[in-house]
């Protein structure tokens, strides 16, 4: 499954660790929330990069005490029409999480722009579509009425643009 990041397919350095698998010496590992909670005493001193895979019924608050150590959060789209992960992602970003936020599951070109706008910045995508489909899919709308979204270079926030003198409202700058 290709990994899409910054409009390019990239190698995925992250390894998903089963709940009963041994924690390696180093590297970039993704664990479940259950494992994170269970083995936190051990994981807190892990010297590599630590990521967590949530389900879309996990609460953002559950990550609160771990988030400063986390550099990747993976959120699922079990079906593209199941939109819970949009709100989890947005909640994480509003809470100030600045690490990588990855969408996986039924991730399709026609939802890519929305995903990026709520704060996703990497996408485990279906290999049905060539890269240029992904590149153009995320850019079809150059305007958004909502404030505080993650905007690509070609996107403008309508209300802020109308009322010059007010800066676009963003929780934090982000390359997307």
């Amino acid at each position: 499954m290709p990994l899409l990041k910054n409009d390019a397919f990239v190698n995925d350095a992250w390894v998903s660790l089963a709940d009963d698998a041994e924690v390696p010496e180093n590297g970039s590992i993704i664990v479940s929330l259950a494992r994170l909670e269970r083995d936190w005493d051990q994981l807190v001193s892990f010297t590599g990069l630590l990521g967590v895979r949530l389900t879309n019924t996990d609460k953002v608050e559950a990550l609160e005490s771990y988030i400063s150590q986390i550099t990747l959060v993976v959120l699922p789209f079990p079906a593209f029409a199941d939109g819970r992960s949009y709100s989890i992602a947005r909640g994480l970003r509003l809470d100030g999480y600045r690490g990588e936020l990855r969408a996986e599951g039924n991730v399709l070109p026609d939802q890519l722009q929305y995903m990026r706008q709520v704060g996703f910045d990497s996408f485990a995508v279906s290999d049905r579509f060539p890269l240029q489909v992904w590149q153009s899919a995320g850019k079809q709308m150059s305007l958004a009425y909502q404030r505080g979204l993650f905007r690509a270079a070609n996107e403008a926030e309508v209300w802020s643009a109308r009322h010059r003198g007010f800066e676009p409202w963003e929780e934090q700058p982000h390359a997307g």
């Binding site: 593209f80 029409a81 199941d82 939109g83 819970r84 949009y86 709100s87 989890i88 947005r90 909640g91 509003l94 809470d95 399709l108 026609d110 939802q111 722009q113 929305y114 995903m115 706008q117 709520v118 079809q140 709308m141 150059s142 305007l143 958004a144 009425y145 909502q146 404030r147 979204l149 403008a156 309508v158 209300w159 802020s160 643009a161 109308r162 009322h163 007010f166 409202w169």
Partner: protein
Amino acid sequence: MYRYDEFDAKFVNERTAQFRDQANRRLKGELTEDEFRPLRLMNGLYLQLHAYMLRVAIPYGTLSGAQMRQLAYIAEKWDKGYGHFTTRQNIQYNWIKLEDAADILQALADVEMHAIQTSGNCIRNVTTDHWAGAAVDELADPRPVGELIRQWSSLHPEFSYLPRKFKFAITGAPHDRAAVKVHDIGLRLHKNAAGDLGWEVLVGGGQGRTPLVAVTVREFLPQNELVAYLEAIMRVYNLYGRRDNKYKARIKILVHELGAEKFRAEVEAEYAKHPAQQTQVEEAELARIAKYFALPSFEKLSRFAPHFEDAKLSTPEFARWARNNLAAHQVDGYTIVNISLKPEGGIPGDASAEQMRVMARLAERYSHNELRVSHAQNIVLPHVRLEDAFEVWKALKEADLATANYGLAGDIIACPGLDYCSLATARSIPVAQAISRKFADLDKQQDYGPLKINISGCINACGHHHVGHIGILGLDKKGEEYYQITLGGSSSEHASIGTILGPGFAADEVPDAIETILNTYVKLRHSGEDFLSAYRRVGPKPFKEALYAAA
């Protein structure tokens, strides 16, 4: 009226281009129907029994003459020469080809309209009081907030894949003509002791299989906090609304299952995490929008309109229409004209292209270029000089648009039913037609007084039967259509869900049953007591007895 600026125009044009690309990919087979469905739905395109149906958004029910003309043009060019105005203040075209859809969306964009989010599990077209900006009891015109919500909810990235569809209704008047208590979110304007305006936020009302009246989540929300507060409600719903069963996926079920207190606590907790901040832009935007809704430049007129009074004396038919279909206006010498789209034996809410053009012309000439669509499927000319009412009536009469039954027994709300809809279990239109023929006598209708008869062709309740004073629900029993009757529903500020009277009736028995109910009412009413008040006083018993005595 609101006008698009460069941003709004670019937005709908880009959206149209995006849809054209999606439709082409579907036609070429690059998108599966499963993948295409939510995309087309969020652009208003349904697949119905016989063809595609396109539902066009008429935000808060407001239209200009030019926009109404374009709707007529679309009806002629791409449909069968008519359109159907709906209970969501929208218009539907029932005979659309997928290949034409993008061209139609472009024709809409050309007159500052769209079909965005008229379907799909997202925030739908915002509805409001069809007399907004003209009603005498109004605290403020709710449409600027309607437009603010239209923009905020358009292609909202976080809330486009909700558990289920989501409907807003807003009223700026104490008398609720927008049915806000039976919407997912209803907003009611109040003035506090200090004279400030704020919104009562009601959540979890709805009809369908599980009719519920909304609960108040906030009594008085300052206007500048509205967008942030709505985001908190939507986030709670998006995260916790049920997705395992589409019949339990509306926010009303979440509110009901959690209980009002727990739901309110969840929303307030979410809101407390990210309360309204830097609301200057929202405030500036609302102020910008509000300028478009400034009252038109009304003339200073006398309350007494001699030409109007003379016409009533000389033309009794006009006098009857004037008594029924005109409503008091905020400004002396003006009136609100309610055009009934419910002619005897007609299809409720249907208008031909020619009728649309007549109404467009009348709006341009007599109503400051404004029309409204009401959720009862009628059209309103909101700002007509009393002295022009006779001219307006003559033109309407010529176009078969002057039926004097506004708000009476013949003014029936009906969904498209089994004649068009793939969800329906029974026909609605023929039943509405039969009832309107049964009560064709306007004297009789007037004697029955204010009455809402609402008909749905299935449990999804698009015809609002739960909140009809008399509700009719079409069901299917072993291949036979039959109709359940409910009494005592209301969508007003005193909203209530109707009570089922007893066993259902065959289609051809329904008009007689309604007559029995109304004759029972006439016998027991107190002087001046309307149907709903009488029902609320006596309950269902006398009606049950009259209906089922023979059986």
